[in-house]
C-alpha cells in the first residue's frame, strides 16, 4: 500500500514537472499562431526555425560556448580539486567554503559582479566575457564532483607507483587520472548543462555582438510568444535528452570497464 502511494506520488510529481514542457512541445506542432487552440498538425514552425539563420547561428554559438567553457572549467576544476585535496586543516576548509559560496550565490549577484569586474578592467562585453564568466561559474561544480573521487583514492596506489619508479607526471596521468575519471566526466557534463542553462549571468555580461539562446528567447518572448520558440525548445529538449543518455552510457561503460567495485 505504501509502495503504491509512493509510486503515485512520484508519477504525480513528474506529471506536474513535465506538463509545461509537453504542453510547449505539443503546440510546436500546431499550425496556429498561439497556444490557446491547437489547429492541426504541421511542421510549419520547424520550417520557420530552419529558415531563421540568425537563430540557428545563436544556437550553434550557445553550444560552442557550452563545450569550450565546460572543457576549460573541467581542466581547471580538476587541478583545483587536486590542490584542495593536497591541503590539510584550515586551509582546505577555507578553500572549500569559498568554493561552496560560489555554488550557492544567486546567479544575479554573480552576473552583476562579473559585469562590474569587466567594466572596471575595461574588458569589452563579447563572446570572451561570456566565456570567461561561464568558465568561472562552472569551476566550483567540477571541484565538487571530483573531490569525492579523490577522497576515495587509495593513497598507497601512489606509493606503489612511486615504488615502481614512476615520477610525478606519470603518477598523475596513469594512476590518479583513471581513478578519478568518473568524477571528471560528471563534472564535465554538469558544467555543460550549467552553461547551456544559464540565463542570468549571460544576460549581464553579454554585449552587442554575442548572445546565447536563453537570452535570445527571453528577448523574443517579450515581444509576444512565437511558436518558433516552441519548436526550438522541443529541439533543445531532444538534444539534452541525448546528452543525458550519452552521459549515462559513458559512465556505465566506465564502471563496467572498472568492474564491480565494492
Amino acid at each position: 500500500m505504501r509502495k503504491l502511494g509512493k509510486a503515485l506520488y512520484l508519477v504525480f510529481a513528474f506529471i506536474l514537472l513535465y506538463l509545461p514542457i509537453v504542453y510547449l512541445a505539443y503546440f510546436s506542432f500546431s499550425s496556429g499562431q498561439d497556444m490557446v487552440h491547437f489547429q492541426h498538425f504541421s511542421w510549419v514552425h520547424y520550417q520557420a526555425l530552419w529558415a531563421d539563420k540568425n537563430l540557428i547561428a545563436i544556437f550553434l554559438q550557445t553550444i560552442l560556448l557550452a563545450i569550450l567553457s565546460s572543457l576549460i572549467a573541467t581542466a581547471i576544476g580538476t587541478c583545483g580539486a587536486w590542490g584542495i585535496f593536497r591541503l590539510r586543516g584550515v586551509q582546505r576548509k577555507t578553500l572549500l567554503v569559498f568554493n561552496n559560496v560560489l555554488m550557492v550565490a544567486p546567479d544575479v549577484i554573480i552576473g552583476a559582479s562579473f559585469l562590474i569586474c569587466f567594466t572596471a578592467l575595461g574588458i569589452g562585453l563579447s563572446f570572451w566575457s561570456v566565456l570567461l564568466s561561464h568558465i568561472a561559474f562552472s569551476i566550483p561544480i567540477v571541484v565538487l564532483m571530483v573531490l569525492p573521487r579523490l577522497h576515495d583514492l587509495d593513497l598507497t596506489l601512489i606509493d606503489a607507483a612511486q615504488d615502481l619508479g614512476a615520477g610525478k607526471g606519470l603518477i598523475f596521468n596513469q594512476i590518479i587520472l583513471p581513478e578519478i575519471m568518473p568524477g571528471i566526466l560528471s563534472g564535465l557534463f554538469m558544467a555543460l548543462t550549467y552553461s547551456l542553462d544559464d540565463f542570468a549571468v549571460t544576460f549581464f555580461v553579454t554585449g552587442n555582438g554575442f548572445t546565447t539562446l536563453s537570452v535570445e528567447i527571453y528577448s523574443r518572448a517579450r515581444q509576444g510568444i512565437n511558436l518558433e520558440i516552441n519548436a526550438l525548445s522541443t529541439v533543445m529538449l531532444l538534444v539534452v535528452l541525448l546528452l543525458a543518455g550519452g552521459y549515462l552510457f559513458l559512465t556505465r561503460q566506465h564502471d563496467i570497464s572498472l568492474g564491480a567495485r565494492s
Binding site: 587509495d154 598507497t156 596506489l157 606509493d159 606503489a160 607507483a161 612511486q162 615504488d163 615502481l164 619508479g165 614512476a166 615520477g167 606519470l170 594512476i175 583513471p178 581513478e179 570497464s257 572498472l258 568492474g259 564491480a260 567495485r261
Partner: protein
C-alpha cells in the same frame, strides 16, 4: 658488505610523537629478515623509511654503503609489496606487473617475456588478461609479489603482506615466499605482528616495541634467550616470575633456590625469571623441584596445555605430550630451562655480560 644499514635513525612527527628512537640495523644480502612487533611499534615506519616514502628526522639510511636517505622512492633499487597489495584497479594483471618495466621504457617484447616468467614463478599462468578485482586475496597477493619482483629489486619489502589471508592460505604463502626468496637470493624484509610467522620464515628477526629495537637475532636465539620481559611475552608462551640472584648460577624465585645457567649479575639483584612451558615436565611429587596442583588440561592435538598452581599461588603454564599423571604432581625442569633477565638491560649489555661469563667459564 651490508646491503641496507640504518644508522641512528629517529623519526619524530610534527605533533611531537616519536615513532622511532635511534634505530640501528645492518642487513646482509640474500637473507630473510623480519621486523616483528605489536601495532604501533614502528615496524612499518622503518619499512617506509627504507622504501623512501618517508624521511627520517635524524640519522641515515645506507644502501651498499651509499647514503640514500634523501633519494626519492622512485630511484631506490628496492620494491615493496603493500599490506593491501595496492594493485592498480584500472589495469589488468599483465599491465599491473608490467607497470615498473613500462616506466623504465623496456622494449615491449622484453616486457612480455619477463611478465610471463613472473606469472609462472607465482603460479598464475594464463591470468594476464584478468581484471585484478576478479582475483582472490591469495592471487592478488601473488600479483603484488610478481609486480615487485619483475623489476629485479636488490631488496624486497613486504608490509604485513600475509595478514589479510586466511590461516591455511597464509601457511601456503609463507612457504612460497620462503622458496621464492631462496630461489632468487634477494634480501627480503618482512614486516609482521605475527610471531609464529616471523619465527617460521626468518633468518633473523628484529623485535620492536614503542619505536625501540628490543632484540635482534636468529629465531631460536630470540626464543631461547629473550633479553627482557617484553620479548619473552611477545614471542611464545611463557611463565614469568620476579626473583633475585643468590650468586652466579643460583637464583631464587617462589621461595625456592634453583641452580641456573646465568651469571655476571650481582648477588641480591632483582631479576625476572622466564620458564618456557615446553621446558617443564610433570613427575612424581617427590622427584619434582616444585609441587603443583593441576587446575585444567586441554588436549590441543599435538600437545596438552596444562594449567597448574603451586603452593605459593603462582599459575604455571605447561606444555607436555602426555597427560598429567595425577591431581598433584611434581614440576621438573633443567637448570638451563631457567632464563634470568635483568630489569632494563639492553641487548648490547646482555651480549656483553654473556661473553664475559662465558670467557670466565673457560
Amino acid at each position: 658488505m651490508n646491503i641496507i644499514e640504518l644508522r641512528h635513525v629517529t623519526r619524530r612527527y610534527p605533533d611531537g610523537f616519536t615513532a622511532l628512537h635511534d634505530i640501528n640495523l645492518s642487513l646482509e644480502p640474500g637473507k630473510f629478515y623480519s621486523l616483528l612487533g605489536p601495532s604501533g611499534s614502528g615496524k612499518t615506519t622503518i619499512l617506509r623509511l627504507i622504501a623512501g616514502f618517508d624521511q627520517p628526522t635524524a640519522g641515515e639510511i645506507l644502501f651498499k654503503g651509499r647514503d640514500i636517505t634523501n633519494l626519492p622512492a622512485s630511484r631506490r633499487p628496492l620494491n615493496t609489496v603493500f599490506q593491501n597489495y595496492a594493485l592498480f584497479p584500472h589495469l589488468n594483471v599483465f599491465d599491473n606487473i608490467a607497470f615498473g618495466l613500462k616506466v623504465k621504457k623496456v622494449a615491449p617484447d622484453e616486457i612480455k617475456k619477463k611478465v610471463e616468467r613472473m606469472l609462472s614463478l607465482v603460479r598464475l599462468e594464463g591470468f594476464g588478461k584478468r581484471s585484478v578485482q576478479e582475483l582472490s586475496g591469495g592471487q592478488q597477493q601473488r600479483v603484488a609479489i610478481a609486480r615487485a619482483l619483475v623489476n629485479h629489486p636488490k631488496v624486497l619489502l613486504l608490509d604485513e603482506s600475509l595478514s589479510a589471508l586466511d590461516k591455511k592460505l597464509r601457511k601456503t604463502m609463507q612457504f612460497e615466499l620462503r622458496s621464492i626468496q631462496k630461489q632468487l637470493g634477494i634480501t627480503f624484509i618482512f614486516v609482521t605482528h605475527d610471531q609464529e610467522e616471523a619465527l617460521a620464515m626468518s633468518d633473523e628477526i628484529f623485535v620492536l616495541n614503542d619505536g625501540r629495537l628490543q632484540q635482534s637475532g636468529s629465531p631460536s636465539a630470540i626464543y631461547d634467550e629473550p633479553v627482557n620481559e617484553f620479548v619473552a611475552r611477545f614471542i611464545g608462551d611463557s611463565n614469568l616470575m620476579s626473583g633475585h640472584m643468590i650468586r652466579d648460577f643460583e637464583v631464587e624465585f617462589g621461595n625456592h633456590r634453583f641452580e641456573c645457567a646465568d651469571a655476571g649479575i650481582k648477588p641480591g639483584e632483582q631479576v625476572q625469571v622466564l620458564l618456557r612451558p615446553e621446558d617443564l615436565s610433570l613427575v612424581e611429587p617427590a622427584q619434582g623441584k616444585i609441587v603443583v596442583d593441576i587446575l585444567s588440561q586441554l588436549f590441543l592435538g599435538d600437545h596438552y596445555e596444562i594449567w597448574a598452581k603451586d603452593d605459593g599461588g603462582f599459575n604455571w603454564l605447561i606444555h607436555t605430550v602426555e597427560k598429567a599423571p595425577a591431581e598433584r604432581c611434581g614440576l621438573h625442569f633443567a637448570p638451563d630451562a631457567i632464563h634470568v633477565m635483568r630489569l632494563g638491560e639492553s641487548e648490547s649489555e646482555f651480549d656483553q655480560r654473556l661473553s664475559q661469563y662465558e670467557e670466565h667459564e673457560k
